[in-house]
């Protein structure tokens, strides 16, 4: 129920700006998988990779939902996907260095919004003076009704595949920038129980790999 309320509030806030009844219906409708890559990279040169055993979390909320309990799910999934595409996971040591380093980080932050708490009156009043395409701020000149706050937690999981070849050859030791070969980003609104979240996360992580056919180095 809480999920729907959050989404309903988001939608109402959005639809206030114009008279559009359509848009996302469920929180999961806002999930996205986003990827980008170095178009000059020859991925067959990066057949070995390393993967740390934890996900690094960045959040501004001590009660953040994303947390260590998702680590094994995310790490296993990413490992499976890279292995299926023809890459070999190695543990870095003095003798073996992977060609690529894969890191996984997760971000979450609370977002705050406002809405007037008297929607029906608001609509009733507004309807008559509606002018198409005119967007306005819900706070502008509307003091008679009170305001409430809503909070939603926005989360992202970022998978980076970083070029390690220059580093282990000692060429990159002075370099301040990392060459990111591939980046996969899963973004959505964090809501629902752990199982639902895990499902949504795995679908989107898989989608990141599915939409990146250039990663496949199986010959």
């Amino acid at each position: 129920m809480k999920n729907y309320l959050i989404l309903a509030t988001l939608l109402l806030a959005a639809s206030m700006q114009s008279c559009y009844p359509e848009g996302p219906e469920y929180v999961s409708d806002m999930d996205i998988a986003m990827t980008t890559y170095d178009t000059s990279a020859d991925f067959s040169k990066y057949s070995t990779y390393s993967l740390p055993d934890t996900v690094i979390y960045f959040d501004n909320n001590s009660k953040a939902v994303l947390g260590a309990k998702f680590d094994s799910l995310i790490l296993n999934l990413v490992e499976e996907q890279f292995n299926a595409l023809g890459y070999t996971k190695v543990t870095p040591s003095d003798v073996t260095q992977p060609a690529a380093i894969v890191t996984i980080s997760a971000y979450s932050q609370d977002n705050y919004g406002y809405y007037t708490n008297n929607w029906y009156d608001y609509w009733g009043w507004y309807w008559g003076s509606l002018w198409p395409g005119y967007t306005f701020s819900p706070f502008y000149g509307w003091d008679p009704y009170g305001y409430d706050y809503y909070v939603y937690e926005d989360g992202a999981i970022i998978i980076d595949m970083i070029d390690n070849t220059k580093f282990y050859k000692g060429e990159g030791s002075n370099s301040r920038t990392l060459n990111i070969l591939w980046k996969g980003i899963v973004n959505g609104i964090i809501s629902g129980n752990s199982n639902q979240l895990m499902n949504r996360i795995s679908n989107e992580v898989e989608q990141c790999f599915n939409q990146s056919p250039y990663l496949d180095i199986n010959k």
């Binding site: 008279c19 559009y20 806002m30 999930d31 996205i32 986003m34 178009t39 926005d154 939409q211």
Partner: protein, 201 residues
């Protein structure tokens, strides 16, 4: 002019104001973005008759339609400001186009002001404001521009009384592309029905 049946009203109607509900069907390149008719539209126009028999009128016409279409789990390529990388993003896409032509119009009505049914043809030239928006996840891409627009029309005014009538009309609107094609060339067929209020000068 068999159509020009003499109506019950024969009062001079030097000007009229017409308010119409309208639906529009997109054609041309805007269909690549949204290929779905819009049932959310409204138009208003004011006309002033030039001659005594009220054949020729000049006026202004402002109308609006919102197009909407959503796509589940669609993959697209996007660029962000200040970032040269191309991002492939998969998610539900919600697409909107707001299209607001504002036209100077000339109309010729085939029957004089004594007729019950007054078919007309007209031509409008002016500008249109177009807003194109794509939402995917929490990302949004929004662009709006003014375009050059023109619009031939046909319709009929039915004089119900000396003060009020009904308008049924169809027009084709063409608007040029803008922002190097990021605002597409828009063409649409619009069908409207509404009320006409007559006023004596």
């Amino acid at each position: 002019m068999l159509l020009c049946l003499i109506g019950a009203v024969g009062i001079s109607k030097a000007q009229n104001l017409s308010m119409n509900y309208q639906m529009s069907i997109p054609t041309g390149s805007v269909k690549n973005f949204i290929d779905k008719a819009s049932f959310r539209g409204f138009g208003i126009n004011y006309h002033y008759f030039v001659d005594q028999e009220e054949h020729l009128s000049l006026g202004i016409d402002v109308s609006w339609n919102t197009y909407y279409n959503d796509f589940n789990d669609i993959t697209g390529k996007f660029k962000f400001k200040n970032d040269n990388n191309i991002y492939t993003i998969t998610g539900n896409q919600y697409r909107y186009v707001n299209f607001v032509p504002m036209l100077a119009q000339a109309r010729y009505s085939f029957c004089n002001n004594m007729a019950l049914f007054r078919p007309y043809v007209g031509m409008g030239v002016g500008t249109s404001w177009c807003e194109k928006r794509t939402e995917v996840g929490q990302l949004r891409s929004d662009i709006s521009r003014w375009q050059f627009a023109m619009s031939p029309e046909v319709g009929v005014t039915i004089n119900a009384s000396s003060v009020i009538g009904v308008n049924v009309g169809a027009k084709y609107v063409y608007a040029t592309q803008a922002a190097d094609g990021r605002i597409p060339e828009i063409s649409q067929f619009t069908f409207g029905v509404g009320l006409v209020i007559f006023g004596v000068e």
